[in-house]
Symmetry: D2
């Protein structure tokens, strides 16, 4: 319920001379996955920014278990693990699209700011969505 | 006089699974080289943008003769070949820093706009610099 | 028949401080589009490399008419315009996914090499595909 | 003695639509900084790979305190904090080149492998360097 999975095709430009995906590329995939997470709940990050907010990255971490390679499709699972009134934490898992082997795990933390850099609370309409479905 | 040479160290992240520099990385090097060209004449592109202008890329081209590799230092020579009142063209040559072999050639065209996207003329103070030294 | 269209979602990491997609990002999209073109004909570039070939970029060009922006979906149309026994040329057109406005046009040229860098001919089984459907 | 500082000029291509350096770009700077660290001790990572080794990234982390911006020069300080026989940990600090304000902190862990992916020990000649100067 709090998770969303994005299918990502490895780009040649994302590989490096070791013949595998460069370790910085996964950080970009995390970003795609949390954007897709938001969209799956009806929010476009582009529109969110247009209304005056930025979701600023304050921390990231990643553990590299096995590399992804060109020719792979990968699945990036993003899970909202800490919804806060002024920020969020997402956890990520990158799996091989075929074998389902876990390749990379990671997380990111974010704070919400306005375009002047002041920390802000999520607008009420959005906050409900971020807290997830009501228990019944 | 119209040229400037930038020394660039190949980054691992710029390589790809062929073991050489990815062809899109050179386009970023062209950008570094023309920024250095401007700085060598006393202009910071960052400050130029801050005064309300953008130098927008309208065309690029590149010919790939030999690849650069990780461990190489390369030299990127930028030459202003077409100073116009509302735009510029730069030509580029990427050479191996050791052997001086030419690896890549290219060019870029630019127009000057304000932050609303309207085409503008270079401010007079800058235009003189772009036209180069007076003949004597 | 010789064309293929790829749908690409603009990544935040592909934008720059002008608020639009950085001009080097389109070069990466061209690569995605020609890879998809190959796949639509039953070839995986990853497998092609694994059999001992590289399709090396020898030239690129791009004209930037209007920028793509974050929040856009774009369509990149790749067309094989010059099938040669030892190389290829593709032409590209990047359109806004909604308005269908043309944003960027471009091309790339490639030669076929083995992993030692020697120029090679396309294997016969592949050459037929690249030449396209037989006229009847 | 265990630290090295690299001066990095922010590239326009490293910025994003928030007007600051994209958070994935710092991960690439960490890589530059540890490469420079090695070179300051007489080792080229390119040559190291050529002798049959890879220094594989197994973990990274970064805390984003303040963003770097285009027009900044930044200093990235890399410190070897855990020399192990089969791996390393580096800590990083990114500072504004002018104000010396700390912008980003981070770390990376690495294991040493051969080109087949088997974990290896550092060759003796290198191990001494990595352990740093002898106490006297």
């Amino acid at each position: 319920m709090y998770s969303h999975e994005s299918l990502i095709r490895v780009r040649y430009a994302e590989t490096d001379a070791m013949g595998v995906v460069h370790h910085s590329s996964y950080i970009v995939w995390f970003e795609l996955a949390r954007t897709d997470w938001l969209e799956a709940r009806g929010y476009s990050y582009a529109e969110f920014e247009a209304t005056g907010y930025y979701l600023v990255v304050t921390e990231i971490g990643a553990r590299y278990l096995r590399p992804a390679r060109y020719g792979h499709d990968v699945i990036v699972r993003a899970t909202l693990t800490e919804p806060r009134s002024r920020g969020l934490r997402y956890d990520y898992e990158v799996r091989h699209g075929g074998t389902q082997e876990v390749l990379i795990t990671g997380f990111s933390r974010h704070i919400l700011t306005d375009h002047q850099g002041n920390i802000r609370k999520f607008p009420a309409y959005m906050w409900e969505t971020l807290q997830g479905p009501k228990e019944t």
